[in-house]
Amino acid sequence: MPNLFIHSDLVKKLKEGSYEAFDALYNLYADSLYGFVLLHTKSRVQAEDIVGETFLKVWSMRASLSVEGSFKAMLFTIAKNHVTDIFRQQINRPDFEEYIRFCEDKNLLDNTSEEKIYYDELIEKLAIAKQKLTPAQRNIFELSREEGLNNSEIASLANLSEQTVKNHLSAALKTLRIELRKYNYLFALFI
């Protein structure tokens, strides 16, 4: 395994404080780590942050790194707590289910596309689309889809009838569908 040898050599240099070795390790492993985190968090922003912070830790704890064993396994050990925290946080977001449904619809309609849409992109586009809603529609949409409240909870909170809440919500969804089509998103999920 010549690769393994080179990597342990790099780790040895890194331990001595070599900036070049650190750079080489970053270039070798940043891509996989980023991809791995992105698959878990579905967020490019989170993936970027975690990659940065993980390598920052690699640098600050370089003296205690082991030359034995694979750097790839070490990298996981350093990153795992952070990745797990964000992973758990993401999947428990109320609107994450909408995102999953969105991916499902997209896969059904367009299975050939390699291009994936990530959670934060969807939220970003949604934030722009939400500007087209009336304040009441927006408020009710957010309580429903982002806070995860059901219609009767929203009705009592907003002091409205449940039917009014339903009407606002369906008007909001209709507007959002139209807005999001502008971004070529096949936005069938909010039905």
Partner: protein, 326 residues
């Protein structure tokens, strides 16, 4: 159970999980301990390589952010100054941002530590020997250990509080001027657009000498200032006030009988602006003043009232137009 989890987890990662199954996966993950979850994740990490791509722009952005946060250290080499220039381009800090060099296991290594304060920012640093330095705006500093001495090169203005270590003298080099220190606090004002390098001793004692004439040394007392001229290589001394010399540390901009041209230079650096003097006849007027945490328009207005010039402030440019006749 294990197999079905594995299957759903993999589908989730690939973005292919059915929405009806997501709830099941989420509940499983919420029930798993971190240790169990780590095991699944590590398994995937070590056995897959087919990840979404990290585009090179993003990769470079993460890298740059990373380097702003880590110590910028490189081996001493002949290309030191070109590297310094690169480092200078990369490292830029915000106002009163603070950067602490991570203490290495060997504080006395030949590695170079570098920092700059660009624009109108100030930077607080802790050197590997635990000495602290505050850099004023548009100043840069490098530090390394050589032949038993702690060597610092400074360009601009810095306030030093040097950790006492008799065995390893601390030397600040500004061009050919050397300031040798055992453990003390002092301020150095040495912007390259000025002929003079001013060293003010706050406490302790320091020794100054010119590299070209190292046998001739000068000792400085506290509350005394050494003014070295780069042109004629002469040092003169004057008594000074510690509060005035270190006023910039508290965001105090103080002038005491200074030439208007010098004052404008200091304002340029302090606020990161460009001042054009259209009436050079006032350049040598002496002025005094003190400003604390003031915005530029206030300072210009105060000087205008006192000295009767007119000015125009547009963006980062100030044009001093003419002197009103009294």
């Amino acid at each position: 159970m294990e197999n079905s989890f594995q299957k759903l987890y993999t589908q989730f990662l690939k973005g292919e999980i059915k929405s009806g199954k997501f709830e099941e996966l989420k509940n499983s993950i919420n029930r798993l301990s971190d240790e169990e979850l780590f095991r699944h994740m590590e398994d995937y990490w070590l056995n897959h390589n087919d990840y979404p791509k990290l585009n090179s722009e993003r990769k470079q952005r993460i890298r740059e952010k990373l380097y702003k946060q880590i110590i910028y250290r490189k081996k001493l080499s002949s290309t030191f100054w070109t590297r310094m220039a690169t480092a200078v381009a990369i490292v830029a800090f915000c106002i009163v941002s603070s950067l602490h060099f991570i203490q290495s296991n060997k504080p006395y290594t030949p590695d170079i530590f570098q920092a700059i304060a660009s624009g109108n920012s100030k930077v607080q640093l802790t050197l590997p020997d635990k000495s602290s330095v505050k850099l004023n705006s548009e100043s840069s500093l490098s530090y390394y250990f050589e032949k038993g001495k702690r060597i610092t090169k400074l360009n601009g203005e810095g306030y030093f509080q040097v950790t006492r270590d008799e065995k390893h003298p601390f030397i600040v080099q500004v061009g050919d001027l050397n300031i040798e220190v055992l453990g003390t606090s002092f301020n150095i004002y040495s912007y390259s657009d000025s002929d003079v390098i001013e060293t003010s001793l706050i406490e302790g004692s320091i020794r100054l000498f010119d590299s070209k004439n190292p046998t001739e040394t000068y000792m400085l007392r506290p509350s005394q200032k050494a003014i070295y001229s780069r042109n004629d290589r002469k040092i003169r001394f004057q008594d000074t006030d510690n509060i005035k010399e270190t006023a910039w540390l508290q965001n105090h901009l103080v002038f005491e009988s200074e030439r208007l041209s010098t004052v404008f230079h200091r304002i340029e650096r302090w606020y990161g602006v460009k001042i054009t003097l259209m009436c050079p006849e006032i350049a040598n007027d002496l002025i005094s003043g003190s400003f604390k945490d003031e915005q530029l328009p206030y300072v210009m207005e105060a000087l205008k009232i006192q000295y009767g010039f007119n000015y125009e402030l547009t963006g980062n440019n100030v044009i001093i137009t003419k002197v009103n006749l009294k």
